[in-house]
Symmetry: D2
Subunit: 97 residues, 4 copies
């Protein structure tokens, strides 16, 4: 993982969001809600996203209710949205297909 871990500038965040149309900034975090067919499909997604989190050593705030998964990404100690949040968001998009 050669991703430099740092906060984004406002311009970088704006650019990142253009590449991440399913995401928005909510309460200072990258936010996406994903809908699946049922719990099983949601859980299959979460199991893969957990691998991503551990691989990046960067973990989401996330919640699940039945077939819905909500993800909020920020880098606590950097006080905002950072490079790893953007990377995580792209990987979520790849998994969500």
């Amino acid at each position: 993982m050669a991703i430099e871990r740092r906060a984004l500038t406002e311009d970088e965040l704006a650019a990142a969001l253009r590449e991440l149309p399913a995401w928005e900034v909510q309460d200072g975090k990258l936010h996406r809600e994903l809908g699946f067919a049922d719990f099983s499909e949601a859980w299959g997604f979460m199991s893969r996203a957990a691998l991503v989190a551990e691989k990046l050593d960067h973990h989401p705030d996330w919640s699940n209710v039945w077939a819905t998964v909500v993800i909020d990404l920020s880098t606590h100690d950097l006080g905002g949205i950072g490079t790893l949040d953007v990377e995580f968001a792209h990987r979520v998009d790849a998994l969500a297909g």
Copy 2:
């Protein structure tokens, strides 16, 4: 699973809570926050709780941030806390050790 799926009376709920000291009622749901050593341990717990959910065909509202898992249990179509929520809570307690 021979558990009759129905709402609890107030007396039943009070009795159930006496058996579930780690849980409280919050916004009309059975609520527990669990702390683990790290994400891996939290995820191991969630992976086992997912099996319980699918086995009971009763799924939690739950969220995870790093080593913390928050669980809220209610039975939406019964308009409150039901027998399966109590069963799920006991199984969470057994998994949490």
Copy 3:
């Protein structure tokens, strides 16, 4: 789960196999090998199949190497292939897409 748990007759097994073209009988077990794009995709499948196993209370002999999952199904105490093996195989096929 209203599936009666019992061994299959030879005729029933032959009929079941016609509905399960990806499966064969190997060493007295229903056998399928599944290939995925990578470990993550294989693991997402396994995480969903684990839910099926726990829900049916019927668990596979299975193995994983990177992107490959091999599943062998039999009902030990019935001494062969049973109704739950066939049900599990169909659910695997549904998950494998």
Copy 4:
């Protein structure tokens, strides 16, 4: 992960095995069989070991039957047991408690 990925010399392997009493060399692989209370506990372990595999980018040959998990570790392209196999084995031991 600052672990240099390379094959072990015979002396290094012998030394590694002294630190890994639950493991033996079988068919040229580091081999351990783990027993759990039931499928749920075995699955909780596997879910955590999957995180390790993805984090190390080093994946086991493993199989599961109900409460038993068998793990075989080798580094295919190095033609034998390597540094990452030893690291993975230590992490398995830590998870198995």
